[in-house]
Subunit: 350 residues, 4 copies
């Protein structure tokens, strides 16, 4: 182990807490970062995700929240490497992907062990020192102990609004979120033959204003009975004249945005998922949001366009940016996101 | 029969061509108009709709497109009252609710028989002398021989945009249509776990500009796997300052708009359908679009709000307005829509 | 009131407790029984169902569970006629259609007021003196104080199994239930793009054996993301040779079974719902289960066939039969179900 | 190339015609067979599947049906390696995965080039010399020029029925297929809130009898609005007494059947898909059908159980078996399926 330790000497030591839909993908993403070490993942029970980890050969070490449940794992032949407490002694940053509310309890542990933590969007803003997005406010996360990531919709939305904002300035946005209501395989929630509406403004618009306080935002959200990606329709008021082609150029240049065409067959959120499966991406995941080239129009001087949010994987890059920020691995945001992108093989379209 | 004839002497004689989803509802709506006579309905085959007409006691006379198929109806015990040609001799206006494209062929028959006709949104604009909406451009339909109604989404959309326009003026609108992809029971189309996108602008925005040429419109449309109503998110730029409460007042005063609250349980398109079923409305239909009180927000001086379009029945009132216009039964639009509303029991909320 | 009282003197006085999906339909069904009086319905809050009752002119009197909430109803202009306790003084039988578990609490009230009650399938069997089905074991309900109805699937399943059993005897059945997972408008449960399986045997098979102890039954259940009716596939082993045509004849002769054909357009559960809407049935409801004529086949001497269960309304007739049984209005089951059918306009197909 | 050629000298040269849902998976499966060479894949247009092949680095050579469309591929930078005709000169067996009906036309090409071909279930039986299933009738395919594979449902169904048949004999089966109506991403077909029924018997029961003529089969099929796997409920009449545990043992021993438990979280077809994604399987595919341990019950001496069919990948192993049979690579079926399984990493559960 000492050899590995030496090799890993300068690496930031990371663990993932909660090995569910987001946790599994965080682990995969961190494992690809050459300047980070994924020390282990933590879960409470031999869930299907844990069994899949086992069946695929334990690429990541597993630690247990509750040591008393160790026999349960043993009977299934699933090796464990210690307890949550032990793991926290070995790491610098915990990526907390537990169900909403658990993170707040875990925070006490992180404090006790003197480690930093990054929480997902399900926790309340108060849990963290900064509400964070890798592109829009990297500097707010520098050196902080506790960050909270934006949720999946907000993460993708801010990517594109921030990109426009850096180019021409954004005065205001009015968004309509057509939300997938469950992840593939979820049985604890779902809707049948129903579009469920939420009051205006949705939390994503409010969150955007927290991260980008100079932009006025409001929005409407409708839950729809699908699983493979949210779609957001955005009406943006730019500060300078702005055209369709400029939006396409900005998005093509963005390593975390993919510009696609209905004419090529990308006619739905699920077409993007199918494409990612066919690419051989693990789990059929995609880190990039997509912009539909044919779904852009002018409304006077405002611009209307639509993006796709692959909810299972979209927050992974920005969470990894968060590790860079809180550990001050890079102080310049462009250096930070650039490295994250490089290790995740995210490139600008040319 | 002469007695009935006398009673009906001054009534406009109407027939419905194509007894499908829309045709059945047009028949029911016309039958309620005390100054119109529903002479009969026409169809080509003993469809389930025709069988339901029979099982419910033939409240409307049935005429056949193809007399050679009469024995088919006879075997089922379904009485028929003559042919399409014979029916056209007895009527003033044909409401054509046949599948897209058939109306264009029927038009030759209408010309030959010297009757007027109103086509539904599936036909091309060129088929008609005027593209018609009872509230927005009633006068364009006056005395015309051939009208084309706006489609279901456009009909509902124009109701509310026209209402705002009459109050404060509308400069532009940017809409996002969350479209139900099939009617309940349809098996010839459908989507599973998929949000299908269409290029911007959608035809509804273009149609709105045809009917209301002084308003700039664009929009994005997403097909969703549901059946009980479209939802439209609208960002409107008014010509004068305009607030949320004013929108609510305008809509409350509109007999064809129902203002509802999520807090009361109206949390989805299907909640509205369920409510209409519980009201005892025939087929669980609703003529009114709905505006969600909690789904209104300001985006700077623009206003964002959302409406529900009950696609099966929403165009019925405006089609009946069309009968009034083309027959010049009323020359003032307020008189016309007022009578249609009265006979359909549509009232302003107070 | 005394006049009405005289007219109603010999009528069985019934109330409905819980005015939800089932409660509304029980009220409608009881109101049609000329030998019963629907004294009132009870609910706890101004739900959408209660608001629809109000908007449709209060055809039924409304009583309140909690008198302290009366002002809430008053503000909405919804008239109330007293309390649950007061109502229980005026009735003979309560039809309890409250959510599962509440009925057990209400039972104490029924005992205190000396009234009989009929519970729906959501309660435990122990709540009742008899687990009841109008056709299969009417005599078990005679004079009992507390009956529990079979659930929607079991009610429909037993209809057809009992009908075969009376003709040729049934040795055993193996069923596959393709279950609709939510009612139209439900947001508290649902599934997206998922077939959820349940352990064998399902409760419906077990329930069938409770009602028909001489039949061996097992079954498998799959929840599917639809709302308009369950479909059950049945493999039945008859005691005597039995053919497809005999099954069709038996079902045609049964007032609560409708024999339909795919060839006519009845190609789905939702086609049946659409047909019921087009018939003008209130809420688009159907009391009858359907048997598909083309979906019958022989498996050696066993017979395979499929039925549709319209879950919202299917238990209404058998619940009304229960009133007849527990009040001993008729002692012969054929007299009882015959009257229920007559008042609900249910007739054999000829 | 000569070096490669030498290495490949004794390998069976295979191509895949039609690079769609099945074709892509056939290519992946053949590429894993160490005694086969995937010479190339053929398609007609730069579909999304072809673009994904390109974006993932062209692991397989692409040939064009229509040489005139080569510039279209060139503009996208997609390299092509020749024409369909040229490819047919280089191969021994074509795996035809074109849309139903095209295969019949391609057959003339295969004859002209003197190559063998294996067609998928969409073609008519007459196209082939034998209707083939690797486990149930391997010997029927030996040395034949043209094989037709069973469809996805039939392939999985026969796996388990054949396994039982080899153990205790099967007299008859009555099946209920709960069919996924579309693949993820399909927009050309789909259903919303609807269970669509088909006449009895379904083609899968008929096909089973063609492959296993000594078994009597019938069945009912319902299309359901899901995408991630069919579920089949089977009532089987064994020739000898047979118990639940024996079925579990047989299935555990079968490399192409996975025994799963609801209690572990495998509560749906989509849970299996999610698990396969989490395993890191390419595209989240699974070759194995699944048997639910809790979904087995006795119906007298008959046995009721349920299996899951992952429709996108299930036919790949048996198609590869077909290559072995028609090329007489192995004359013993156990040797053949054993090698296919070994190269696909399919193992019995122990």
């Amino acid at each position: 182990m000492s050899n590995v330790w030496e090799t890993n000497m300068n690496k930031t030591r990371v663990c993932v807490v909660g090995y569910g839909v987001i946790g599994q993908r965080l682990a995969d993403g961190v494992a690809l970062q050459e300047d980070m070490e994924l020390v282990g993942v933590v879960d409470v029970a031999p869930t299907l995700a844990v069994r899949a980890l086992h069946e695929s050969g334990m690429p990541y070490k597993l630690f247990l929240v509750d040591p008393e449940r160790k026999p349960e794992f043993g009977e299934l032949g699933i090796p464990t490497s210690g307890t949550f407490d032990e793991l926290l002694e070995e790491i610098d940053v915990a990526l907390d992907a537990t169900p909403g509310g658990i993170g707040a309890k875990n925070k006490e542990l992180y404090i006790a062990h003197g480690v930093k933590a990054i929480f997902q969007g399900g926790e309340k803003n108060e849990i963290a020192d900064a509400f964070f997005h890798g592109y829009a406010n990297y500097e707010k996360g520098l050196g902080q102990d506790f960050l909270k990531l934006t949720s999946c919709n907000t993460t993708g939305l801010i990517r594109v609004v921030d990109a426009i904002d850096r180019e021409v300035g954004v005065e205001k946005v009015a968004i309509t979120i057509i939300r997938r209501v469950a992840d593939p395989g979820d049985t604890h929630r779902g809707l049948v033959d129903l579009l469920k509406v939420e009051p205006v403004p949705n939390h994503q618009a409010v969150d955007l204003m927290t991260i980008m306080p100079h932009v006025d935002a409001t929005g409407f959200l409708v839950h729809t009975p699908v699983t493979h990606g949210h779609i957001i329709s955005i009406v943006a008021t730019p500060k300078k004249p702005f055209k369709k082609d400029t939006l396409i150029e900005i998005c093509r240049a963005h390593p975390r945005i993919r510009v696609v065409r209905i004419a090529d067959g990308f006619n739905s959120n699920t077409a993007l998922f199918r494409y990612a499966r066919n690419l051989g991406n693990k789990r059929g995941d995609m880190y990039e949001i997509a912009l539909w080239e044919e779904c852009i129009g002018m409304s006077g001087d405002d611009i209307l366009f639509a993006i796709n949010i692959p909810q299972e994987a979209v927050t992974i890059p920005e969470t990894i940016d968060g590790v860079r920020a809180c550990m001050e691995m890079q102080t310049d945001w462009l250096d930070a996101v650039g490295l994250t992108n490089q290790y995740l093989s995210l490139r600008a379209n040319t």
